[in-house]
């Protein structure tokens, strides 16, 4: 249910790039950090697709899409800013839930991992909610943050999803989710698996209220997240070249003992296979979403009249 391959957030505005410990850190730990803080290196980002170095202000101007057209991973703040009309939105606080229900420890304690993720992202967990107009249509928007423990789905994200659906019903507005996740949060064991059912229940409440539920699949959307709320939308949109798949690439390769072809488990592949309606660029997303939501909501109000 979780994908081993996608562990480290790619460098991006919301996640610190994880660097391999090189000779400098070995002989003088900390020096790299000091050097990094003031260095113009910060002004440059590496394109995850081509390796090309890109000037950061250029990236910001292009909504964090590289010149090669590769949309980099972004967190809730930027996503809300890019999605809502003029960036105007009201943030809805995520509900609180029990941290570390199983008292889980692997190489680090789960509590420490949570603390570190909260510090680096400034978010309580991997999902954030906001409300505003998207292409002129009022909507509740949920954003999953890959920088927060790989966007993994645990009790907290499940609660946030339930809350978002509740808010959508209360405000009589559609729900749009931007998914980004390696899958279930293993540190919550079987409780994390239960979120597949819990989020599905939330979607049923939207359906019962006749409200649209639109999924935008971003890089990466995999495992148990794909096998639940990411595949249950009325409409599925994906960002270009996003990795989207159920089983991890390595797991499949180990099972079938073959190397998978390039382009397998990408947004474009899923469109070809009929699982996703369209690939839409980041720049065009608000307009396309607004158009789709507008039509669906028009039909809904005619039904009610």
């Amino acid at each position: 249910m979780s994908m081993a391959e996608i562990k480290t957030p790619a460098s991006g505005p919301s996640g610190q790039p994880e660097r391999k410990r090189g000779w400098l850190s070995r002989i003088a730990p900390g020096v790299r950090k000091i050097a990094k803080r003031e260095s113009p290196e910060n002004l440059w980002e590496k394109c995850p697709a081509t390796g090309e170095m890109i000037y950061r202000p250029d990236l910001e101007a292009s909504l964090w899409v590289t010149p090669a057209g590769h949309p980099m991973r972004i967190g809730p703040d930027l996503r809300f800013a890019y999605t809502f009309d003029d960036g105007v939105h009201e943030e809805i606080e995520a509900p609180t839930s029990l941290d570390d229900p199983l008292h889980f420890t692997d190489q680090k304690s789960y509590k420490d991992r949570l603390a570190a993720a909260r510090k680096s992202t400034g978010e309580p967990d991997a999902m954030a909610i906001a409300y505003g107009k998207v292409g002129g249509v009022p909507a509740v928007v949920l954003v999953q943050d890959f920088a927060f423990m790989g966007g993994s789905l645990g009790v907290a994200a499940g609660e946030t999803f339930l809350k978002a659906a509740e808010e959508a019903v209360r405000r009589d507005a559609p729900l749009v989710i931007f998914t980004a996740s390696g899958g279930a949060r293993m540190q919550e064991g079987t409780l994390s698996l239960m979120q597949m059912a819990r989020t599905t229940i939330a979607i049923q409440t939207l359906k019962a209220a006749g409200l649209p539920y639109v999924v935008v699949l971003t890089d990466p959307t995999t495992g148990g997240v794909l096998a639940s709320y990411a595949m249950l939308g009325d409409v599925h949109i994906a960002e270009p070249s996003a990795t989207i798949g159920f089983a991890g690439r390595r797991v499949i390769e180990e099972t079938i003992r073959e190397t998978l072809p390039q382009g397998f488990q990408t947004a474009e592949f899923l469109v070809e296979r009929g699982m996703v309606d369209r690939v839409v660029t980041r720049k065009d997303l608000p307009q396309v979403l607004g158009s789709i939501l507008g039509t669906l909501m028009m039909g809904r109000s005619r039904k009610a009249a």
Binding site: L191, L193, T200, L226, A247
Partner: protein, 321 residues
């Protein structure tokens, strides 16, 4: 001749004792009638005692081995023991018939039902036929089709869950493995008839919950229910499969823990040496538990059943376990 039984690692002392008993029986045959009878019966009593003790104190890693025991009763055995007039139905009406999930119509102690579950197979031929219980999209789409049928004819749905997980393959990905699982979970939750789910062996991740989002979820005493196999979890979080026993314990995959966390409603006790030591007793115990749970659901309206299911799952993880 060697002893034919399959022994798990922690059962080795029991296996050794059984081998000694067999040896003594053979000696007894040549030495004359009943020569070692009293020794043999004492050793047998000792062996049963050892088995009982071992199974009373299994750790999660050992339970996982029992849950995967090749002689453990499978779906086919539960159907044979509990379902009359079983009529298997094949195919998802879209692409193929996936024998990793088997299902059909039947009567359970007089009640007309739809019954379905994962089947792992018991020898090379049947294991290949059933793909070791690892379903492809067609299996979950067949499950959806059978639940549609149950709804149309007001039939309760009984499921038996026993899978390492959904099959990770190219074809499955191409045909929407994730979508098929999501739709099956969704169909469980929208079903207007009672649904009772029993995890009999391995409840492996999304491939399991696709058949286990019911009104009642029960586990056999030595079954497991897990978001990822302990081996898989260890290789991701530790990059070391040797840590699998640690993961088995930390991820809380055994029945008692999951009962405490509210993930399952009921733990079905197994015979002293595990379900495989006395399959008939294990199957009957599962049948009794299913009958009791089903009785409490039969009078409820479709709306009440859906609401109960939603409340059941929404409550998980909220009360703090």
């Amino acid at each position: 001749m060697e002893v034919q039984r399959h022994y798990l690692e922690f059962e080795r002392p029991i296996g050794e004792l059984e081998a000694k008993i067999e040896e003594l029986s053979r000696l007894s045959d040549t030495a004359g009638e009943g020569a070692f009878d009293s020794e043999i019966s004492a050793m047998r009593a000792r062996m049963e005692e050892m088995r009982r003790e071992a199974y009373a104190t299994l750790d999660p890693w050992q339970k996982m081995q029992v849950a995967r025991h090749p002689d453990r009763p499978h779906f086919t055995h539960y159907v044979a023991g509990l379902i009359e007039n079983f009529e298997e139905l094949h195919g998802d009406r879209k692409f193929a018939d996936d024998q990793a999930i088997v299902g059909g119509l039947g009567r359970f102690r007089g009640e007309p039902v739809v019954v379905m579950g994962h089947e792992k197979g018991h020898d090379t031929t049947t294991r290949i036929k059933h793909n070791f219980g690892m379903a492809r999209p067609e299996g979950y789409r067949k499950a959806v089709r059978l639940m549609d049928l149950a709804e149309r004819f007001n039939l309760p749905v009984l499921t038996f869950v026993d899978t390492a997980g959904a099959y990770p393959g190219v074809g499955g990905e191409e045909r929407g493995q994730a979508e098929a699982i999501a739709r099956s979970t969704e169909r469980c939750l929208t079903l207007g008839t009672p649904m009772v789910c029993t995890i009999t062996g391995e409840g492996g991740s999304g491939g399991a919950i696709a058949l286990a989002a019911g009104n009642r979820v029960m586990m056999l005493e030595h079954s497991i229910y897990s978001v990822i196999t302990p081996e898989g979890g260890a290789s991701i979080l530790f990059r070391d499969r040797e840590q699998a026993p640690h993961m088995a314990a930390s991820m809380k995959i055994v029945a008692d823990d999951l009962k405490r966390l509210g993930v399952v409603d009921r733990v079905i006790p197994e015979p002293p040496g595990g379900a495989h030591s006395d399959p008939q007793a294990a199957i009957a115990a599962a049948g009794d538990a299913i009958e009791q749970e089903l009785k409490t659901l039969l009078g409820l309206s479709p709306e009440a059943l859906r609401a109960q299911r939603a409340q059941r799952f929404v409550a998980i993880g909220r009360a703090g376990g």
